[in-house]
Amino acid sequence: MRFLQNLLSFKQPSVMRRIDIALIVAVIPHLPYLSGFILAFLFVSVIVIIYIKKVSKSLVNTFMVIGLLLIFISFYGELNYAGISRFSVFISLISAMLIYVVMLQRLSGRVNFYLLFSPALLLILSFFFYNTIPMLLYMIFAIFTFSTMLLWSVMEVNLGIVLKKSLSLFLLSLPIVLILFLLFPRVSFERASYGFTNDQMMRTSHDGTMSIGSDALLVPSQRIVMEILFDKKIPPASKLYFRGSTLYSKKAGVWKQIPQKMLHFKALQKRGEKTSYKVTLYPTFKKYIYTLDYSQRALEASKITDDHILLADKNTEKVKHYKATSYLDYINAEKLSAIKRESALDFNATDYPQLYTLAKALQDTSTNKSLLNLITYFKQSQLIYSLKPEIDENSPEESFLFKYKKGYCVHYASTFTLLSRALGIPSRVVTGYKSNREYVYKNYLIVRESDAHAWVELYLDGAWKRYDPTAYATSSDLLPKENQFLNDLSINYLYLKHIIENWVLEYTRDKQLNILKKLLEDSMFAFTFTFYVLSFIAIVLLAGLYFRRDKQVHPTQKIIDKLLKKLNKRGYKKDKDEDINTFLTAIDLAQIQEINTLYHKIRYARSSSTDEVKKLNKLIKGISSKNPKYP
């Protein structure tokens, strides 16, 4: 508290100090992208600025030469047309050059227009590096700091007052920012693909194959793959299957796809009610676009396959945002081609003798009865869901079902598919993500890498139906979940982050037009929207005006308040209606009358000197707040 008080009572610093503060704020986002040499140059320059008050011209010249040399070394090998034409190299070079020039100017100790302008230039340059929420918050902080420093240059007051003014200025500007943000016409260009933006880390995803042996896909990572914001309620967990790829043939322990027809639209029967949602897909470096079972239409820059798999024209190398609509209650009727039927029934009894024997035992008079027997067998086999199963490499499915009885989704799906085929039912493995609604907040759902899943589709009565054999596991050896409170906190944070990303960072021209269209068409939405916007503006304006108003407290008031406090402790209480003069005149204490006269002179005389204020302060300090002790 005392530290804060001291901080707020900082007097107006010199122009150079104000520029230094702004420069520090502006340089920070550049630091991660500066080479070690440039960082060293920056560090040494700062040390020199701190310890040498007047830097000689020869030292500045030395820094000039060394700096140039370090930039050259840092970009050695990149300094060719191919290197510089890469935008990231170009921007890094500009950033290094700018910091180099600014430091030289700062070392010279002369304030000029370029030095004044440099913090703004550095900040603008840093926007090329990031398009993230931390950068958004930092940008707001930087602009606030810059405006505070500018205000401080015209206010010879302490930091507390200038911060109050700056905050007021900032709050009063917020309604204009909001209106401009909502209505300012955006360009319709695609997002610039340059810059070091966003989370580029690759997510482990499906690659159109599924291994069943010891190298089977197992991703226990909690890294987020998708964030989904449903327009309405989130469907139940039994419907949250995000489709990736369909696999038909199994060779050398690996399930693979077969060639697919590429379409724009794939019809469904009995589609039921549709569910719309917005997806943020993190980079997978694959073409798969995950949608809930079933999307029947290709999205922009993508195709839909015969098996309702959505494939983008390009790999997802940056965070992708798309809106999709799926039909959760459907009949996926299809007339199977000969090749597809053959692939979906591909089962070699000699490769799986135990499965073949079991299938023979489960075979019944009809396909449906045989299937029911199979499901019953799975349910009665006491299978355990385990992420660390023991598997025999030569016969993974048979060792899973008959020997170890432990496995995860791929083992269940692969075994179930093979047995279905042995029973004469065309079947295929489907890979994707299945959410158990563990990470849910309102209509916001998170899908993590650990939600990767495999299930089965069987061709029955002319349509593909989904079966999830993993659900037949009777127990699980998974450890109990982590702290629920932390989990809730994490989901709340992620939801807020998603909302900001969705409505601030990803507020595009389309969203802008959609809002305007909705405002014109939906009167209820228009009313709610206007109400919220106006409420926000009113609150912010009131807050801004509150901070703008300065109680005109005379400096001596604070000093005399200290005296009143001391006197109060000694038993002299001032009535509310009593003026200072009457109150002090009635007190018979040494120096009180002198204080009274001096206070009124400073307060009401046309001019007063700082010496008099100091004297008043000293006199009041001399008054004890304790009554003298008498023997």
């Binding site: 230039l121 206010m155 007052i161 200025l169 507020y507």
Partner: protein, 292 residues
């Protein structure tokens, strides 16, 4: 009538006080440069962070404009001592009364030569302005400007033209009042002449006691004078107080001011009217003299 005229002068003053002007400072070029830079980056980069930075910069500059106006609007200013006389170096006290905390305000003349810089006003502040006029009556004060350089990108200022019609009184000059009174006494008899004596009353001055009589009779008697200064009403005649018009007005101004200082009642006989201190304030009498 005169009061109405004075009120109208104040109203004029009040209304003009609200006419504020703005003009850019060199910082506006920095602002424009940043706005153009951000707009270009927003246009090509198409990232909302850049758009937001653009909107923040623009709206803070716009709010600053409002702040600038409010800053200067928070000051009430007036001329505290507005009695000015011909041929004298008059000091006018320019009073600045802040309603709130006010920052970075300049008081300058027409050519913007700084007269006073007030970085931080929390209480009523005075600045001295000097004014010289050779003629009486309404005279033009030089134009002043009250400028606010808070916040940076532009200045807000008031052209203080409302004191155009300041009234200049005649130069106070001539025989001083005491000499005039002495002259008057001579006309009414010697200062030591007295009509009669009466028994002493406790409220009587000691100087009025007839001491020789006390020495002989041992009783206190008070002298009744022919000329009683306290009861005597001063009467100034325009026609006879000096030789020419300006000298007469200067003489009357001097006496009026001296009477005001010594709190004496007086009357001035002007060619067509009688100005009486019992019925008019000093300022009203001076105004009559100034406009004569």
């Amino acid at each position: 009538m005169l009061k109405r005229w004075r009120n109208s002068l104040y109203r004029k003053y009040e209304s003009k006080q609200r006419e504020a002007y703005e003009r850019p400072t060199p910082y506006i070029y920095l602002l424009i440069f940043i706005l153009v830079g951000l707009f270009s980056q927003a246009y090509f980069h198409n990232y909302n962070i850049v758009y937001l930075a653009l909107f923040f910069t623009f709206s803070i500059a716009l709010s600053a404009y409002y702040f600038g106006r409010e800053n200067i609007k928070n000051i009430d200013f007036s001329l505290e001592n507005s009695r000015v006389f011909t041929n004298l170096s008059n000091s006018l006290s320019f009073k600045l009364e802040p309603k709130e905390y006010v920052f970075n305000v300049y008081l300058s003349d027409k050519d913007e030569t700084e007269i006073a810089y007030l970085s931080d006003i929390r209480k009523t502040t005075f600045s001295t302005l000097h004014f010289h006029s050779k003629t009486r009556g309404f005279a033009k004060l030089p134009s002043y400007k009250l400028l606010s350089k808070f916040p940076l990108p532009h200045q807000v200022f008031y052209k203080i033209k409302n004191f155009d019609s300041i009234l200049v009184y005649p130069e106070p000059n001539g025989i001083n009042l005491q000499n005039y009174i002495n002259l008057q006494k001579e006309k009414h008899g010697d200062i030591d002449d007295f009509n009669t004596i009466r028994a002493f009353r406790t409220s009587d001055k000691l100087s009025s006691i007839h001491w020789p009589l006390y020495a002989s009779s041992k009783k206190l008697y008070t002298k009744e004078y022919n000329f009683n200064e306290e009861k005597f009403d001063l009467f100034f005649d325009y026609e006879h107080c000096a030789n020419d018009k300006e000298s007469r007005l200067s003489q009357l101004t001097l006496w009026t001011l001296e009477c005001e200082r010594t709190q004496k009642e007086f009357s001035i006989k002007m060619p067509h009217e009688l100005l009486q201190s019992k019925k008019m304030s000093t300022d009203e009498i001076l105004t009559k003299l100034a406009l004569f």
